[in-house]
Amino acid sequence: MKINLKKAFGGLVVVCSSIFTAGVAQANQLESIMDAGVLKVAVPQDFPPFGSVGTDFKPQGYDIDMAKYLAKELDVKLELVPVTSANRIPYLQTRKVDLVISSLGKNPTREKAIDFSDAYAPFFLGVFGSKSESVDSVEALSGKTVAVTRGSVEDLELSKLAPTDSVIQRYEDNNATLSAFLSSQVSLIATGNLVVTEIATRFPAKAPETKFLLKNSPCYIGVMKGDTELLAKVNSLIAKAKTAGVLEGLSQQWFKAPFPQDL
């Protein structure tokens, strides 16, 4: 079969220009969302408490509630698109969704691919402890004992930052670290806020409270590069949610902990 190169090139030009004009027509993604009356959001379904499938087979979680809040504020219908952590950014880049609310952390590589909103959810490694312990910074650990899981990121961070006269007890796995806290062998543990949420859900009476942050990696909403109006709108809605206490409510509901002040 012989291909007519000239014809093929002409076809390519036509296709390209039509894509281009389509792009121009939809330059403002915020307007096209409002026109369509539907906000399409990529959410996790395998990562509680951010997103999971409830007993009624409906998605539930912090991210899902965040998406619901945004749709309500924009006064449009919400379409949830379940994604995995591997395909959530491609979904956004190919416009299958308008926003990614999927416990997305920020890093330089990702920042080249998409834009990030302001932080909307806490995700951090920190030191947690019983109410009687008054520790508010890593220096205050001087002379105290902290339990941590050996070789974990929090172990490395804590070993780097903790004063030399603090005792770091290293346990074999997360479970042993938690057991050491729950059996009151130690009153301070270093771990992730989700682990603490898990304790708070199962043993509300024994839940440790946040003392200070070791490493902060909050979650951001992902927006396609160039959707500046949409990004600005999302940011203003996040700011509103912070002041109106919406995020505080979501944090209490899903993380069993207050929304960090400095986020």
């Binding site: 339990a147 050996r150 007890q169 346990y171 074999e172 042993a176 050491a180 059996s183 009151s184 062998q185």
Partner: protein, 222 residues
């Protein structure tokens, strides 16, 4: 397969290993001593006249000998605090090791006592010795001598078993190995080195016990 061994990579962690070794030796020495004392009393207790003492010793020995060491350890460290009995990791590890050796050595020592001819008891009584004096001067020395090799092996098992207490964050040799492995990722090297150290420890422990035997049983070993 082209992996070149990097034992030099362990050098910065040498202080960890030495700290761990010290802790293992300390734990072993104290738990061996206390364990053997406990074992001796339990062995005698099992042959006591009082049914109550017999019962208590029997229950203790059977419970410890028929449950896994790590469960005993976790029970003492994670379980007992619920009842208000709180030990530090080091104390909990030591208690578990002593209880363990106590039960096993009690059975070994009892076998040694059992093998003592009845005539020696009668001889002791005839000399006007009390029950405790008979044990102390007549029964126990030859009993120990008979079961000495088994007892030494049991003590070495306890030394090797002390590796398990790393699970509750006691910073002994195995803890050091795990720690170094998780920082340097030199798994082969750190575990190889640790295994060697344990081997040397076990061999030297046997030597020390053989020396002790000569000192302790000078009169009995003709």
């Amino acid at each position: 397969m082209s992996y070149s061994l990097d034992f030099a990579g362990l050098l910065p962690y040498l202080p960890e290993f030495i700290k761990g070794l010290k802790m293992t030796v300390t734990l072993t020495v104290i738990s061996t001593f206390l364990g053997l004392v406990l074992g001796t009393y339990c062995a005698i207790g099992r042959m006591a006249k009082s049914k109550l003492i017999q019962g208590i010793c029997a229950i203790y020995i059977e419970v410890v000998r028929n449950t896994p060491f790590i469960i005993q350890l976790f029970f003492i460290f994670f379980g007992l605090p619920i009842l208000g009995l709180k030990f530090t990791a080091w104390q909990a590890g030591l208690i578990a090791l002593v209880l363990n050796l106590g039960a096993y050595s009690a059975e070994i020592i009892r076998a040694g006592i059992d093998a003592t001819p009845k005539g020696q008891w009668e001889a002791g009584k005839t000399l006007g010795f009390s029950r405790w004096q008979v044990y102390h001067y007549i029964i126990l020395p030859p009993a120990y001598l008979r079961i000495y090799p088994a007892l030494v092996s049991q003590c070495i098992i306890v030394m090797l078993g002390s590796a398990v207490v790393s699970q509750i964050s006691v910073e002994e040799l195995t803890f050091a190995a795990n720690f170094v492995q998780s920082r340097s990722f030199l798994s082969f090297e750190s575990y190889m080195l640790t295994a060697l150290v344990y081997l040397l420890l076990a061999i030297s422990m046997r030597k020390v016990f053989m020396l002790l035997k000569r000192v302790l049983f000078k009169s009995s070993v003709a």
